[in-house]
Amino acid sequence: MNTAKLTGSAALDGGQRLAVKYFVVAIVLFGAQILFGLLAGFQYLQPDFLYGIVDFSVNRMVHINAMVVWMLFGFIGSIYWLIEDESGTEIVGLKLGNLAFWLFTIAVAIVVVVYLVVQTGPGTIESIWWINEGREYIEAPRWADVGIVVCVLIFFYNVAATFTKGRWTGIGGVLVLDLVAVAGMYLTGMFYTPNLSMDQFWWWWVIHLWVEATWEVLVGCIMAWGLIKTLGARRQIVTTWLYIEVALMLGSGILGLGHHYFWIGTPEYWLTVGGFFSALEPVPLVAMVVHAVYDSGVHRFKSPNHPALAWLIAHAFGNFFGAGVWGFMHTLPQVNVYTHGTQWSASHGHFAFFGAYATMNIAVFYLAAQKWRGNVNFGAGLVDNGWKWKWSLGLLNGGVLGMVMALLVSGYDQVFIERALEGATWSGFFKAQQNAWYLQGMWWRQVFGYMTFAGFFLLVWDLMTIGVRETRPAVFHTEVAEHAA
């Protein structure tokens, strides 16, 4: 059989062409996240470095904001990638989607420039609107917040209208309902109140419910579609599990956000509610081990895209250890009173975000790269033996894990000296910062940060070159099943 192989954008549908744009920006922002993280990390070791030029507060802000936005770009791109395939019809409002993409990208670029150039000055209503909203992790000025909501609403319209025009599936239904929450939850971080406890109360809705709940469901939808595509998993099974995930999230995940209400001035019952439901959060993760074992044993899946599958496996382990083990370690208020706000939290944050979200986005990047190259084989026997993806997988995961352990050492030092021995005093804070163990932890974090950057470099190189010289077509198990039927 001699069929011409379609490659590049010619191989893609409309939604996928738009998705590739999102993926490109996501990867650029991923690089920015690591770069500014390295700068901020180095400033822990050499506080004078770039002082007055790009201060630590700015580097840290760009580091975290870049992470939030690259993941959002990755998720939106992933949904656009799967939407025509999943709905069985052409995307509705592709031009609108392209317009939203450019608006979003230009807005992000302007916000970053403002972060870097306008760093100091009085906080006024005008500065909230145009320079910095002042809320940690979501510092984007309010005009950009409004822009994000508008872009998500356009995205919602595109997804809902496309599924309405085509066919509704379980994945599509969950996705559309979740997008209502994605747009709605963000609004809770946009209004101003002079009461700090009240402000923090609503702010956590964005940080926890928006980022950790609505995003989890988005990732669940992408994972469901990804399992069908990479492993040929049956739709009925995948959809059932997606419903279970949503039920668990509503059942324990939402009240589990109470562990962020322990120390912000909310009523004391949050200690019990937050501790109780947070403690039960890892149970579903443990239970899913059973499902993974069952599937691997009964179906003996094979995949024509090894890098994507490897990153999906990294997602499962990263989510389990980063969110489950590292989370439960300090989720009870009796422990959390000593750990919150130390590098311990940073250790958990790095592990959980990388494990739960970054891994999933990278898996989809490899699925996209495969189609871009004309659906060639990304499985066994790649031309260069796949050394680049294997090394980038190892360096990125090893680098992040190394940072996690190093931050844990520094965090424990803070708990030990600042909180336990000194009783959380101002002098205790500085004693901990100057302690040799703390500093060693920060040095090792920096070393593993460089390792992560090397992994990122290889990842980009691999995505640009993987499968270029490959000629064997990929054999997808869904196709095998369909042909057999």
Partner: protein
């Protein structure tokens, strides 16, 4: 009761050496609770999959270790009242969840 007890929640009183030892024990136990829970679940699932008595026994050994770590967590944090109820609930959830998920998985794959 040391600084880790309920009265220590609102006031971050300095801990003595005993409190520090208990704290370290508590966080290690906390991490091991989830790890033993997962190993129990994995051994249980593999045991059912391969109809292996040995794996099932390993699973129950892991669950016994899980009970031990929950006990260490409870005693090192000096938990009382509702917090100990939570610990019992945790054990029940960790024991029951893999069985329920196995049934559900088998049923949805038929």
């Amino acid at each position: 009761m040391g600084a880790l007890g309920p009265e220590g929640l609102n006031v971050m009183a300095p801990m003595g050496p005993e409190g520090l030892d208990a704290f370290l024990l508590a966080v290690i136990a906390g991490a091991l609770v989830v790890v033993f829970g997962a190993v129990y679940a994995a051994c249980f699932a593999f045991g059912r999959l391969f109809r292996s008595q040995i794996l099932m026994q390993v699973a129950y050994v892991c669950f016994a270790l899980l009970i031990g770590t929950v006990y260490v967590l409870s005693t090192s944090l000096h938990l009382e009242g509702i917090w100990n109820v939570l610990m019992v609930l945790l054990l029940v959830a960790y024991f029951v969840a893999p069985r329920m998920i196995w049934r559900l998985t088998a049923a949805t794959h038929e």
